[in-house]
């Protein structure tokens, strides 16, 4: 399993710190998106692991774990699509 991930970032100090052309390492994240969120989704015990929320999350922040699913709150935007799509109402949106 791989995905773009957060890295430490320092603004280049020298010209040689910049990439050649406009070509830089793929999947290099330097900021989070969690500040956008007013509500956070919580997966509850009613979950039957049907994976619909995982599939339909536009940001791909719901991920599979050994015991079920978890959410990467660094990048969840709180859109609530997961809550709507869940056939078991197993996701509730909690005000931040």
């Amino acid at each position: 399993m791989s995905k773009p991930y957060l890295r430490p970032y320092q603004k280049p100090q020298k010209l040689s710190d910049y990439p050649l052309g406009t070509a830089s390492e793929a999947g290099y994240l330097v900021t989070k998106n969690c500040g956008w969120r007013n509500e956070r989704p919580i997966i509850m015990d009613e979950c039957i692991n049907c994976l619909q929320c995982y599939l339909y999350c536009p940001d791909g922040v719901i991920f599979k774990t050994k015991s079920g699913l978890d959410i990467d709150y660094d990048f969840c935007k709180g859109c609530g699509i997961c809550e709507k799509i869940c056939p078991k109402q197993a996701i509730k949106m909690e005000v931040e």
Partner: protein, 303 residues
């Protein structure tokens, strides 16, 4: 019949992540799912538009596969170059995939797209259709439907939004005798995923037109992106179909349409429509479905 791709079988890897699309953005879901199906061999080309704008802001780069922004008009021509270049330098097991908006595809990019299909270049072109130029602030494109209010087709006393019907790009593409074309919707990801899988295995140009609502431009709550996509199919204003071996085929045949009025009036962009406008849209829909039922293969088969 190859194994179907499902939420269970699709890779856990994410290729489009941490991007700055608005919450609930349909386009970002289409791009995310397409790249999950194609995997790390995908070389994606995205023209100017929302998906490139939200994914490539140096130093914050949101694609973990090889990806490049093309000029607005140049998605297909850059795909051609990427495909030829990759082959020329001996890269194997890659798929050049375009991920372009409706404006980038049906308007400014249609010439390059037509050229690529004409050459039958070995590329997959996916148009994520949110029915307007969203990145520049919701202006009318060739794929904006009749009646929709955009910032350049306001609704007032005299004109009720856009006065022209949506271009039928799926059939325009098919008219090139392309090896494979399909319509899809982010409201039905199983269908979308398996069409991508199928297209990626076909040699030559393939095209998928996926409806991907934009909550901002459509005037819907951010958690209703999927619901509205499904309503659009159910009311008959969109259809899931394929074109292959010179034949059109419907993947889902609705017995009865759900309310077109309900679909329209649940969106801000159609709020101003009067019954007469809705009648026009319903008549356009019915005319389309009459030709579909007459000329297309409508036996539902699994992909």
């Amino acid at each position: 019949m190859s194994k179907q791709i499902t939420a269970k079988t699709i890779t856990d890897s994410e290729f489009f992540y941490g991007h700055k699309a608005c919450a609930g953005c349909g386009g970002s879901l289409a791009v995310r799912i397409a790249l999950k199906v194609l995997g790390e061999g995908a070389i994606s080309v995205l023209p100017a538009g929302c998906m490139s704008a939200v994914g490539f802001n140096y130093p914050h780069l949101c694609f973990s596969n090889n990806s490049i922004i093309s000029t607005f008009a140049g998605t297909a021509s850059m795909l051609t170059g990427v495909e030829a270049g990759a082959r020329a330098v001996g890269i194997k097991n890659f798929k050049a995939v375009g991920l372009a908006g409706d404006g980038g595809t049906a308007d400014i990019g249609i010439q390059a797209l037509s050229g690529a299909i004409d050459r039958n270049d070995d590329i997959l072109y996916i148009c994520y259709d949110n029915e307007a130029y969203m990145n520049t602030g919701i202006q009318k494109s060739g794929l904006t439907p009749f009646g929709a209010k955009t910032t350049t087709t306001p609704s007032g006393e005299n004109i009720h939004g856009n006065i022209r019907p949506k271009k039928n790009l799926f059939e325009i593409v098919a008219a090139h005798n392309i090896p494979y074309a399909a319509t899809a919707s982010i409201g039905d990801l199983k269908d979308f995923m398996n069409k991508i899988e199928k297209a990626s295995k076909i040699k030559g140009t393939t095209y998928i037109h996926v409806v991907a609502p934009c909550p901002i431009g459509w005037g819907i709550p951010v958690n209703e992106t999927i619901e509205i996509s499904r309503k659009m199919i159910d009311c008959g204003l969109w259809y899931l179909a394929e074109y292959e071996n010179g034949q059109f085929k419907l993947n889902r045949t609705p017995r009865k349409f759900s309310s077109i009025k309900d679909y329209l009036l649940s969106q801000g962009r159609f709020k101003h429509l009067e019954d007469a406008d809705i009648k026009i849209l319903a008549a356009q829909r019915d005319a389309k479905w009459t030709t579909i039922r007459k000329n297309w293969n409508t036996t539902e088969e699994e992909l």
